[in-house]
């Protein structure tokens, strides 16, 4: 079983609620789910959708073919009709008055049923669930539980009314609709998946940061990063995390630098435009060696670009952002589950090496969700890096020259120490200088960190076995679509594997060199127009990829998109 639902309509019509109801039903019935959100930068109207893929085996990306469309607006029908599979069904709100009917269409009286049975048109969401389950011949009992889960906080009356509406619509659909749906789940009932924690990338990242003892976040709202900030603020009271919405992103990062300098683990959340403002703060953090984690949920640029869409085009900008040269770490989670661990590693690495750590997500990563196993936080390891001893008789030197370039930290407020720090070139004691020898020593100090950082990062992962003829090269969130493309092609007998980087900089090159020498063709698959990661690899190693699959329309990559481009290019 592998079904894709697309729930489309105007902003504000409740498409997310219908999506959440469907997700609840299928997660609780033991299926793997993967949901993407596609929406415009507006609060009301327009055309938005939520697309949920449900499968009996793990799924990692959206697909282009849709089995069930739930349309609350005319646009939602017209936009998705071309992607409907044979035997797929379009359920749409009857009052739209769409009359270009086909047997696969069902004009469902969602609003009318909600009003008549539940007394409130808002219960049309529950009605939609009823219609979908009926079309699939799925047992209604499972809907009851899902409705209970979603509306629990609104009280038993609301739950009961919604259940009633859903049941009425379920029965009405069974009576009225004479079409045939390819997907018949009458016999399926329970799936094999036990994963009941539904996480978006942003939520997983926020949870990881919380688990890593995040103590400070200052941010300015910006799509698609905002929900990460919302999640941190939502639990700030329970977990004691200092948070503030600042006047701009310059203030966000500078406050976080102040908080981190004074000892609180700090992270900022933003998108590319906000990161542009943060760049001078990035340089200060680097020069003053104040640990900081910056999460950039990328969206298509330049400038405002496509505010609610996806792209991986800030890689080289973040790699070189700020004047001057300094070590930095860049991590890009491949999916929500990995994001949890990456947030923990990012905060640890920032403290261990006293450098800026940047997490590169994107709208697709940020807003898409999947069900993962329950996360157990009892074994989270926190590494605050080297701290200066309390009993030293010597005056404290914040920038003491050491072999590995890392100077043990003390914090302002520590008894018996004076902690002096500066964004100017400084001496070991933190006071400023223009002495050329000290400048050289301090630059060397920062360079000395690099091999240690590199050793602390992870090698890329090879999926699909070593020694294939064709290698798909990916980083960050394009992992899922490329993994599925690789799996499909591999099943068809193509000799193909995937080399994936989640730790993108500094670049570990051992496995990279081996895989490049094994493959006849290496294909860069990136959600940008200039294959930035492939360029980074060429810059660092001189190695060149043979073919590029790029996507820059702001919509996420799919396996079929990749396969089509590989075919067109004669690669497979």
């Amino acid at each position: 079983m592998d079904i894709t639902f697309n729930i489309g309509g105007e902003a504000g019509q409740g498409i997310d609620t219908i999506g959440d109801l469907l997700t609840q039903v299928f997660v609780k019935s033991g299926f793997y789910t993967f949901t993407i959100k596609d929406f415009e930068s507006r609060i009301r109207g327009g055309y938005n959708f939520s697309q949920i893929r449900v499968s009996g085996s793990p799924v990692h990306a959206p697909v282009d073919d849709i089995d069930i469309v739930v349309a609350l607006s005319r646009d939602a029908i017209l936009n998705k009709r071309p992607q409907l599979t044979n035997g797929g069904v379009i359920i749409f709100e009857r009052s739209i008055g769409f009359d270009d009917l086909d047997t696969c269409h069902y004009p469902a009286p969602l609003n009318e049923t909600a009003k008549e049975v539940g007394g409130n048109v808002r219960m049309a969401n529950a009605a939609a669930l009823g219609a979908v389950l009926s079309v699939l011949k799925y047992p209604f009992e499972l809907a009851e539980e899902a409705i209970g889960g979603i509306f629990e906080s609104k009280g038993p009356k609301v739950v009961a009314a919604n259940v009633k509406v859903a049941k009425a619509m379920y029965d009405k659909t069974t009576d009225e609709w004479k079409g045939e749906c390819r997907q018949n789940l009458g016999a399926v009932k329970k799936g094999p998946c036990k994963d009941r924690l539904v996480l978006t990338g942003n939520r997983a990242l926020a949870l990881g940061a919380k688990a890593a003892n995040l103590k400070w976040t200052s941010a300015y709202p910006m799509s698609p990063s905002s929900s990460c900030f919302h999640d941190i603020v939502a639990d700030a009271q329970r977990l004691t995390i200092g948070t503030i919405q600042t006047e701009d992103e310059i203030s966000s990062i500078c406050m976080a630098i102040g908080a981190s300098f004074a000892g609180a683990r700090s992270m900022v959340t933003t998108s590319g435009g906000g990161f542009s403002l943060m760049v001078e703060g990035l340089g200060l953090a680097a020069m003053a060696e104040v640990p900081i984690v910056i999460f950039n949920a990328q969206r298509p640029g330049p400038s405002t670009g496509l505010p609610t869409r996806t792209e991986q085009a800030d890689l080289l900008f973040m790699l070189t952002a700020s004047q001057g040269e300094f070590p930095r770490i860049m991590l890009a989670p491949k999916d929500p589950l990995e994001a949890f661990g990456i947030a923990i590693r990012a905060l640890n690495l920032a403290d261990m090496f006293q450098v800026p750590v940047m997490i590169l997500g994107d709208q697709y990563f940020s807003d898409s969700s999947m069900n993962v196993p329950r996360i157990d936080v009892s074994n989270v390891e926190i590494n605050r890096g080297q701290l200066a001893p309390n009993d030293s008789a010597e005056p404290y030197l914040r920038y003491r020259l050491t072999e590995d370039g890392i100077s043990p930290r003390a914090l302002p407020g520590d008894v018996g120490k004076v902690v002096v720090s500066s964004g100017n070139v400084h001496r070991e004691d933190g006071h400023i200088t223009e002495d050329p020898e000290v400048r050289n020593a301090m630059v060397q100090k920062s360079l000395n960190k690099m091999p240690h950082i590199l050793r602390a990062l992870q090698e890329p992962t090879v999926f699909g076995g070593r020694g294939a003829d064709t290698t798909l090269l990916t980083w960050g969130s394009t992992w899922g679509a490329a993994y599925e493309a690789m799996s499909i092609l591999s099943d068809r007998g193509v000799s193909i594997n995937q080399l994936h980087f989640s730790d993108v900089y500094p670049l570990r090159t051992e496995v990279l060199q081996e895989v490049f020498s094994e493959a006849k063709k290496v294909v860069a698959v990136e959600q940008n127009s200039t294959s930035q990661f492939a360029r980074l690899i060429r810059m660092e190693t001189g190695l060149t990829v043979h073919f590029h699959v790029n996507k820059y329309d702001g919509r996420p990559m799919t396996a079929s998109y990749i396969i089509n481009h590989l075919k067109e290019g004669g690669i497979v």
Binding site: A211, Q237, C254, I257, G263, P412, G413, V420, S422
Partner: protein
């Protein structure tokens, strides 16, 4: 009490002879001594400019940050450790120019830090261009040839009060006694405290000289000014004509930012450890 030897700066002062910053440094050292807090509890956060080099001339915790951004850095450090007495040393080019927004928003938050503006009405370290607080008509390399600086200066006291600062004062580098007392008041004050400090720039500014300030300033406190009266304070703030008032303009009590953030009830944010039990409960609530 901290001795003057303990405060002795580790670096040689680089300011020009006769610079108004010397008076500010001397007053700061006196204020720090008078305040009586332990040395490790002070934190100076400075911007970029001549005055912002002050952390290198007094032996206290410090971070010499970015042009215009000292106030955000200072707020973050304060909130991570409420025991620190955080003082932002900033210049007029720095905080009244690039950082003006931060000044106003920090004032609005009534965050409990002190801001000392080294205000010499000129961009000193970048060789004398007009600054946001240069007088109208100030002639420099970057002002129009005929008119000089073609606009009126920023009014830091009025902006601070309008922004929500709960202490606003103006000191003069040449009046040590009053400046020391204003600095102490600002550090002790529970809330956002701004001290606009008039200081001549011997090298560049030929309008705002020692002579000018000595002849044109008078003590606000000798006029019976009510420091709790916002409108009276604003009226005084706008009276920068022939006679410039110095002293305490405004001082009131209001809730400070830290009271309403999710900071630890006891102890410092920097030392707080998140409860893994609570976090596990949050995760388990998300499980369907």
């Amino acid at each position: 009490m901290i001795t003057i030897e303990q405060l002795e700066g580790v670096q040689e002062v680089t300011w020009c002879t006769g610079c108004g910053n010397f008076g500010i440094l001397a007053a700061l050292k006196k204020a720090v001594q008078e305040l009586g807090f332990p040395q490790h509890e002070f934190l100076l956060v400075s911007g970029i400019g001549c005055g912002s080099k002050i952390p290198h001339y007094v032996n206290l915790n410090s971070i010499h940050a970015l042009h215009g951004r000292a106030i955000p850095v200072a707020q973050g450090a304060h909130l991570a450790n409420l025991d620190l007495k955080v003082i932002a040393h900033v210049g007029d080019g720095d905080t009244l120019g690039e950082g003006l927004g931060h000044l106003l928003h920090a004032a609005r938050r009534n965050v409990n830090i002190a801001v000392f503006i080294h205000n010499n009405g000129v961009m000193g370290l970048t060789t004398g261009q007009y600054s946001p607080s240069s007088p109208r008509g100030y002639v420099s390399k970057t002002s129009p040839a005929d008119s000089g600086a073609p606009m009126d200066p920023v009014n830091p006291i009025a902006l601070a009060i309008a922004g929500g600062a709960t202490l606003a004062a103006r000191g003069f580098s040449g009046d040590q006694k009053q400046l020391t007392s204003l600095m102490s008041d600002a550090v002790k004050h529970e809330g956002f405290a701004v001290v606009d400090i008039l200081q001549p720039c011997q090298t560049w500014n030929r309008m705002l000289t020692w002579k000018f300030y000595n002849e044109h300033t008078y003590s606000l406190q000798e006029t019976g000014h009510d420091v709790t009266d916002k409108l009276a304070a604003l009226e005084k703030a706008f009276s920068n004509g022939k006679k410039i008032p110095i002293g305490l303009f405004y001082k009131v009590k209001a809730p400070v930012l830290a009271e309403n953030l999710t900071l630890p009830k006891d102890g410092r944010l920097r030392d707080h450890r998140t409860s893994m039990k609570e976090l596990q409960a949050i995760i388990d609530e998300l499980v369907l």
